[in-house]
């Protein structure tokens, strides 16, 4: 089985009479897309804006970021079981519009947080500042529940991304990367001399705005399961969470999971990447025990020598991270963990809420409590008024010149725990 990923590099994003890719520019028919998204009865209004890298633009709050993709050999969009009909993701052909994304904003449920600055110091910390972003600003109708509201915004983003992805269907990619997928025994037979490695992929599942979906299934109702690495590239995993934005995985992160990509890049060279175990981060102790027991069992079943474990979020999930680590190490399988830190604004506090002597190999995505001042931007898409009450904000966050001082926590993706960034923390 193979997945071929065809990347189409996009250099510009503009509105135009027809949604299409021409001369490396993605044109978007504003009316057509607006109408499509407004068909959802839960949405009262939808407006589209464009934000380019380097512009004096702040987007806040950010619900999700999604990369447009399409499967040219089949009808419909990606995100099977959620925004399209069910199919098994991760094989065949996938076309990707690189350099653009859909960013969803507007009134979101509960706290209005997550910042993307398209220029200035905040842009250095956020991967989405480097993309041409189609920003969808949506307001919900009144009288719906917070759960309906969240679902409507989530599906709206996926729908918009699938709509843009259609423009890539007939385009010849600028580069094509091919991934081979084998039955489990073949990994062991074909690469007898290489260390066998798996990836334990922890997903937020703590409730409203802290949920993640696997083929449309809310992962808090899922037991740990196996996944081919390429399944993420067709949208098997969708984000439903965005609060405490710095270390939440947007759908864009899942589609481009760096652990998956970098393990695949080295597969057959200095390691053999056998597959992924997808697990959750539920809030009760019984759930944590069940998920970590079954995760360790699946890792052992894969017959690997080592795993990389990535966390999503902080605090409560630190416990899941340590339970996964100790149970897998307990089976004689080596672990490396990717997390971020909450070491206080001055960096002197203990960084994690839980720990184990077995967690002796940790990669850090940086201290999320560190402060940054973001200068005022000429244009705001969304609303910065709630800055003092968002995670990472505090009384006095907004100064009279409209610059804002926040913890890195407030910047979406700043301390990502999939290892997406080059930011880290060291002890001084």
């Amino acid at each position: 089985m193979h997945l071929k990923v065809g990347n189409i590099f996009i250099k510009d994003l503009q509105f135009g009479p027809q949604t299409e890719v021409k001369n490396q520019t993605l044109f978007v028919n504003k009316d057509e897309l607006t109408k499509l998204l407004l068909a959802d009865e839960h949405l009262a209004s939808v407006e589209l804006e464009i934000a380019h890298p380097g512009e004096s633009v702040r987007i806040m709050p950010v619900k999700d970021v999604i990369e447009p993709r399409v499967k040219p050999e089949q009808e419909g969009g990606i995100f099977p079981g959620m925004a399209s009909k069910m199919f098994t993701a991760g094989s065949g052909l996938t076309h990707v519009l690189k350099g653009v994304s859909v960013v969803t904003t507007g009134k979101i449920v509960g706290y209005q947080e997550g910042i993307i600055d398209m220029s200035g110091p905040g842009a250095e910390l956020c991967p989405f500042s480097k993309l041409h972003n189609l920003v969808v600003v949506a307001q919900p109708v009144t009288g719906i529940t917070p759960y309906q509201h969240e679902a409507a915004l989530r599906l709206m983003g996926l729908k918009a991304a699938n709509y843009l992805g259609e423009a890539a269907r007939k385009i010849t990619p600028d580069e094509t990367i091919s991934y081979e997928l084998l039955p489990l025994h073949a990994y062991h037979e074909n690469y007898p001399d290489l260390p066998k490695v798996a990836y334990v992929y922890m997903l937020q599942s703590q409730g409203l705005l802290h949920d993640t979906y696997f083929y449309g299934v809310d992962v808090k109702n899922m037991v740990p399961t196996l996944m081919h690495p390429t399944e993420v590239m067709d949208g098997a995993i969708v984000s439903g969470n965005c609060v405490s934005a710095c270390d939440k995985n947007t759908t864009y992160h899942h589609l481009n999971n760096p652990v998956v990509h970098d393990l695949l890049a080295r597969h057959g060279k200095d390691l053999c990447f056998v597959g992924c175990v997808v697990t959750n981060e539920n809030v009760t102790l019984l759930d944590k025990q069940r998920s970590s027991d079954l995760t360790a069992k699946l890792v052992e079943f894969l017959g690997v020598d080592g795993v990389i474990i990535t966390e999503e979020g902080f605090g409560n999930p630190d416990t899941d991270l340590m339970m996964n680590c100790t149970k897998i190490e307990g089976k004689g399988i080596k672990t490396v963990l990717i997390t971020d830190e909450y070491a206080g604004q001055d960096g002197t506090s203990q960084s994690l809420a839980d720990g184990s002597p077995l967690a002796n190999a940790i990669v850090s995505g940086g201290n999320a409590n560190a402060l940054i001042t973001l200068p005022a931007m000429e244009k705001v898409i969304g609303n910065v008024d709630p800055v003092e009450v968002i995670a990472g904000g505090f009384k006095g966050s907004r100064s009279t010149d409209d610059s804002i001082t926040v913890e890195l926590q407030a910047i979406i993706g700043a301390t990502n725990e999939l290892g997406f960034n080059k930011l880290t923390a060291r002890e001084y």
Partner: protein, 348 residues
Amino acid sequence: METKRIVVYLNQFFGQIGGEEEANTPPQSFDKPVGPGMGLQQLLPKNCTIVGTIVCGDGYFNENLEEASATVQKMLDNFKPHVVVAGPAFNAGRYGMACGTVGKIAHEMGIPAVSGMYPENPGVESYRQYLYIVETGNSAASMRTALPSMAKLAGKLANHESIGTPAEEGYLSRGIRRNIFVEKRGSERAIEMLLKKLNNEGFDTEYPIPHFDRVEPAQALTDLSKVTVALVTSGGIVPKGNPDRIEASSASHYGKYSIKDLTSLSSDSFETAHGGYDPVYANQAPDRVVPVDALRALEKEGKIGQLFPYYYSTVGNGTSVANAKSFAAEIAQELVSEGVQAVILTST
């Protein structure tokens, strides 16, 4: 280059006043380098001049901490140094504590400070976050290796040059986590670390897990019928509108709210400020997080003596352990002094 002013702090011995018999000498100041300061001056960058030396007996400093600190602060105020160099103290405990305190005083005045100590000197653990402490041997025999590192760091600090990691500069870790950008993204670093671990090669974790405090639960109380019970939560339940502006994450403070005469927490008057969990159920019925209704029922039944008329609330989400510890210490002290004998802690 602008001339930078350096002040050196020494104990009675290195300050050439005398041995243990002079340990009770109060702080004195000299407007020139003394003892190891002479050697240090030779090693400092050309634009750095030792303009003063403060000498104090180790016994005096530790036994008269407040007075000694106040005097040292006044002397530093007069010298107006760009950098303070204290010691090196090697493994001398009282000297190390004095050097650390001087570093803390300087830190609070906005002046960077450098010292040198043996890693086991108690001054390291107590003061490392306030100043740079160069690692030395356990006796003055290592003066020759200590001074160049201290001079180099002092020079860099005076000239506002960036300071490298403990390993690069030779100082003992200050326990401060600082963000930096590195060449490779996290996923790549994780794979390289895993391969080293699998090959039994050495690797450096990016976050060494510290020793965790594990608190043994206290013995259960057998009879609560005469006991005052208090409610304390990290679930962020606050009066509607969050009057104390407790942060949704990284709380810098906690609130104390009256529940006198309340039989439950109504959704009209209370809500959660917590940004880290699904707030819908907590906002529908705040008793789910702070169970005033259940405690009132127990009070009526005589199962508990009484419910303490206030509850304490903060937000656990992303709140540093250091902040949480300080809230807990204050709350506990207040509860004890009010005669509360049992607390129900609710988390979320």
